[in-house]
Amino acid sequence: MSKRVLPGFGISLGVALAYLGLIVLLPLAALAWKATGIGFEGLIRLLSAPRTLAALRLSVGGAVVAALINVVIGLLVGWVLVRYRFPGRRLFDALVDLPFALPTAVAGIALTTLYAPNGWLGQWLEPLGIKVAYTPLGVFVAMVFVGFPFVVRTLQPVLSSLELDVEEAAESLGAQRWQTFFRVILPMLAPTLLTGFALALARAVGEYGSVIFIAGNIPMHSEIAPLLIVQKLEQFDYAGAAALGVAMLSISFVLLVLVAFLQRWSHRWQERAT
């Protein structure tokens, strides 16, 4: 065995572990410990309360729908930005990251103003009977907004490295354009779309800042799960807040594992197909 040439193993790993321990692990341990404070029955009672269930359903269900919408829109926008040339393409490309860069509170009040009954978009939707601000629909809109860049940004590098000869081969073998798209291109993009879906989903499930302004926060109707945690804290119900926090963490963990599994499965399915 040769002596290590590069210095700093001990100190860099030590710093990294100490930092993670203090900033991430210790606080999470406090969360887990506090959550046990309400006991098993208390936990069941809390999680099965209609208001908790409604909030979890809106946060998880809304995030799933928003992520699905983002897969469709993200595919369209990513495709157009990579495949076509048009004036202003670079500008629009840079703009895709706006939801990452714009602070959530700013996005929240801007979306609310935009979709309020007298807002730029709200005034056109209101006569059609579509109410966005202060309804669950507003929650979806905010969730689509915050998750939007994920699908586009995951897709772009894959789209630009996609081999054109596969498409050309399909077409020269007589495939229609839509056949090429649905039978050749889409299956190749499936794992990437799943990754983008997972990232958008993970972001939207826990989203708070951009949602609370537009949601109206009506209990049982447009109240999201993170807001329930804030309310528990305001009532000094630390154990209840911790239990909800653990529930939310578990949900994101399960979703991420599920998607990782799906991804591996679609990768393998692809390899077998080719």
Partner: protein
């Protein structure tokens, strides 16, 4: 990038399809991204320039700006040090549990901002683990500046490490080993070889880290206590003014944050365009 993808002429039905797809994508981007951004500035200047400037010059706004800068100045450098240390350990050495360490670094990205704040309340709050001890020693963390900094550090922890790890992995360690063999000290190696190699990726990570640190709302809102002039950062000031129906004031402060976002996007695009190869390999969605 600018090389046309297809040299053969494109049939007109296909060209119509292309135009329709481009139009659809642009309409979506305009309605969904540009309009919210425009709203911020239009609402901020709704009553003219003077009220806008007045609402930014109010003492609460100025103290919120100062606090936001203070939090970022403390949180970002700490996360830079952590990011460099973690990336060095992860990419230059083999050890057991490396994958676990990587997952831990990414963890804050998948935690709800509210939970990120909550964990510190449970640690340092009145009923928290260290609450009674801190109280008896007269130290305030929750509802004070230290908690704002801690929550911000938690939320922005992955940014720098996430940019550096894939890049340093791809670069390999030959140059650093050569420097060492030729007699460079550890610091000489770091400052003359490692740092120049990662500088643009580091700047990129700092840029994203800073944007999030200054704009963080959920985590900070939980630990702040909303004490005007003492613990309200700019996003919290936006919230408080908005909830008090002080719309011009809320959007005025929001416009400063939106401006920060635009500058961040511009510098980010510039870095990607100019130094794309040296930033390279950054994982998608790492924002």
């Amino acid at each position: 990038m600018t090389v046309p993808l297809r040299s053969r002429p494109v049939a007109w039905p296909r060209r119509v399809l292309h135009a329709v797809l481009i139009a659809l994508a642009l309409v979506f981007l305009l309605l969904f991204l540009v309009m919210p951004l425009a709203t911020v500035f239009v609402e901020a200047f709704r009553q003219g320039v003077a009220p806008y400037l007045d609402s930014i010059r109010q003492p609460e706004a100025l103290s919120a700006i100062k606090l936001t800068l203070l939090v970022a100045v403390l949180a970002v450098p700490l996360n830079v040090l952590f990011g460099i240390a973690a990336a060095w350990a992860m990419t230059r050495f083999q050890f057991r549990g490396k994958a676990l360490l990587g997952a831990l670094i990414d963890l804050p990205f998948s935690v709800s901002p509210v939970v990120s704040g909550l964990v510190y309340v449970l640690l340092f709050g009145a009923q928290g683990w260290f609450g009674p001890w801190l109280d008896s020693h007269g130290i305030k963390i929750i509802f004070a500046v230290p908690a704002l900094v801690l929550a911000t550090i938690f939320v922005t922890l992955p940014f720098v490490a996430r940019e550096l790890i894939p890049l340093m992995q791809a670069q390999g360690s030959e140059e650093e080993e050569a420097a060492r063999v030729l007699g460079a000290s550890a610091w000489q190696m770091f400052f003359r070889v490692t740092l120049p190699n990662i500088r643009w990726a580091l700047l990129y990570g700092v840029l994203l880290c800073n944007a999030r640190a200054m704009g963080e709302f959920g985590a900070v809102s939980v630990v702040s206590g909303h004490i005007r002039g003492l613990t309200t950062t700019m996003p919290l000031e936006v919230e408080m003014r908005y909830n008090e129906y002080e719309y011009v004031g809320a959007f005025a402060v929001a416009s400063l944050l939106a401006l920060l976002a635009l500058v961040t996007l511009a510098v980010k695009s510039l870095l990607e365009w100019r130094y794309g190869d040296e930033i390279a390999a950054h994982a998608p969605g790492g924002h």
